[in-house]
């Protein structure tokens, strides 16, 4: 996807020149390999900072919340779905945005790559169209990108942006026949004790840094429930009960809104597979309500819709 870089820069320059945006939000190349940084530029002459490759792991929609200016923003499939969610939840107005759509072929799982080189330090990564080469002090290895995609990208069926003002390349082919919820079904098959043990085990390393929450564009509450002190809903120590309360409640707050962008998992410093919490809710939304978040501006969010003819009894 390196070929996108020039296109993104040209588009940003044009938008500034035409006076269509006040700022432009994208990624710049990070200071360490496999790590790009969200960046905001204010003028065309900064466009050279903009970058795009398979390491754009953060969700840029995060940076839109409650902005008041006119914003150009790059958006691949999942990011665009979060922008839709943001618009329908009144966190940003559609007419403030100029969305530069990016057909996406998936992001690289930097942890899997680290594992593949046995945690040796990677000093440089070169990306080619289907492969990438990692270099360290005493090693150099080339891998197929498709074998090192992030787990959410592997099961993604919305690689193309669902909303945009212009798109910088031909749409990519959407993946079909993916089994998005194999892992969820495995957990569903457990008895409740094993389920509890499973979730207890995956969060046992949690340090309550809240990176998962803070990286999530859905988590824009002015005061998060974990930060409330009157009343205090959750203890602040690393007692497993409090930690579990945080993770479960966080996931439920994302129910029917999560686009499985994977930012939460990408940022966790302790490598916790936090998507295991949200995925079950995504699966339920899909199976019970045929719902996928952020596909259309015309749909109200799943959990704020009431229909008298709802086929579920509990709601009537």
């Amino acid at each position: 996807m390196l070929e996108y870089v020039e296109k993104i820069r040209e588009t940003a320059i044009k938008l500034f020149k035409d006076g269509k945006v006040d700022v432009f939000i994208g990624y710049q190349k990070g200071s360490i390999p496999m790590m790009n940084q969200p960046v905001l530029i204010n003028s065309a002459d900064q466009a050279g900072l903009l970058y795009w490759d398979r390491n754009c792991g953060l969700n840029l929609c995060n940076y839109l919340t409650r902005r008041t200016d006119r914003i150009g923003i790059v958006a691949n499939g999942c990011n665009s779905r979060n922008i839709v969610t943001h618009i329908t939840e009144n966190q940003i107005r559609r007419d403030q945005l100029y969305i530069v759509g990016i057909p996406c072929k998936g992001m690289i799982d930097h942890r899997a790559v680290q594992r593949a080189v046995k945690q040796q330090e990677i000093l440089a990564v070169e990306e080619h169209s289907e492969t990438f080469t990692v270099k360290g002090k005493d090693f150099e290895e080339t891998f197929n990108i498709k074998d090192y995609l992030r787990s959410n990208c592997l099961v993604c069926t919305h690689r193309n942006p669902v909303i945009f003002d212009e798109i910088i390349a031909q749409p990519v082919e959407e993946q079909s026949g993916v089994d998005a919820y194999k892992d969820v079904r495995q957990i569903e098959g457990m008895d409740s004790e094993n389920k509890w043990n499973f979730f207890t085990r995956i969060i046992d390393k949690c340090i309550r840094c809240y990176a998962c929450r803070d990286a999530c564009p859905l988590c824009y509450c002015p005061t998060c429930f974990v930060d409330e002190s009157k009343p205090q809903w959750v203890g602040k120590s690393i007692d497993p009960v409090d930690t579990m309360t945080f993770h479960i409640l966080r996931a439920y707050h994302c129910a029917g809104r999560c686009t499985d962008c994977g930012a939460c998992e990408r940022v966790c410093p302790m490598g916790i597979p936090v998507r295991q919490f949200t995925k079950k809710l995504n699966k339920d939304a899909q199976e019970f309500f045929s719902w996928e978040a952020g596909l259309s501006l015309d749909q109200r969010p799943l959990l704020d819709v009431f229909r008298p003819d709802d086929y579920n009894d509990f709601i009537r």
């Binding site: 940084q37 330090e121 840094c209 990408r266 410093p269």
Partner: protein
Amino acid sequence: MTKKIYTKKEWMKTLAGLKSSYNIFVPVSDGDFHIFKAMDDKENPDFNFKNTRLSPKSVIYPQSERLFEFTLDENAPDANIIKQAEKDYFPQAIVGIRPCDAHAFQIVRPNFDNPEYQDPWWIQRYESTTFVGLGCNNPDSTCFCTSVGGGPFSEKGLDALLYDLGDTFLVKALTDKGEKFLKLAQGGKKPDKTALKASEELAASASDKIKNKVSTDKLKHKVQTELFEAPFWDEVAFACINCGTCTYLCPTCWCFDMQDEVFKKQGDRIRNWDSCMFPLFTLHGSGHNPRARKVQRVRQRFMHKLKYYVDKYDNGVQCSGCGRCIKNCPVNIDIRKVCELMNS
């Protein structure tokens, strides 16, 4: 000072033998990364690591620690009276701590132990700890200890230092505590001249492997209020998501919160790590918040480390150059870059 040499296999046995004298904390492989854990029958030390994901600060300063206890039972004679919780300060040793992390305790020390106030828990656990370092043969590209007063074989804050010579560990006592540790450590031989020379060469060559040079020389002379108003803070802070990763992983971040927790009639006063990245950290009861905006909190973190600490203690910067925040910041905010901006 005593020096001993052990084959690596022998060293593991020696450590196991020391368990009756110390609670021993060692690096342990935990999936994709290493972490310091108490050595028990389940945990095998793995000294083949760069550095642990979390710094060993929690060995001295746990993320959550019970400070006091109390009863709310009105029938009890001591109802509502806060009492010190019983503590055990059995000798402990951190074996395999990297020199940057040992240096970090020295950086943190004046906060908890100064002429006006002494934090009893931090000090007692610090003083009951023996720091047995492991020199860094192959520092990472994100390491910059040599810019902040340390080095891959720096002895600052260490009681003993291990040199990894391939098949053997050469261990050198540096303080009385280190001498005691080595005296209690079974086995080992007196190192021959070849081993001593190898250890010296290793230390000498390691510093050159650190390519980063972060300038901190001008920080002290900067005017605090001018640096505070510097034009670059918005840009530095833009990507920040205000999570606690940098502060919790940092060996020199010490901020904390105190909370009371009650179960039925019994309660504890607990100290938890806190983070200047969180809005709640400075929120007044009235609702006013002097650091309500993200940029203010990001600025606080860097100003604290690189300016306020410098001004307060005249003891260098509040950073040991371990590089954890660089590697693990979810949005790649790089302290080396910020330091250069502040120092220029």
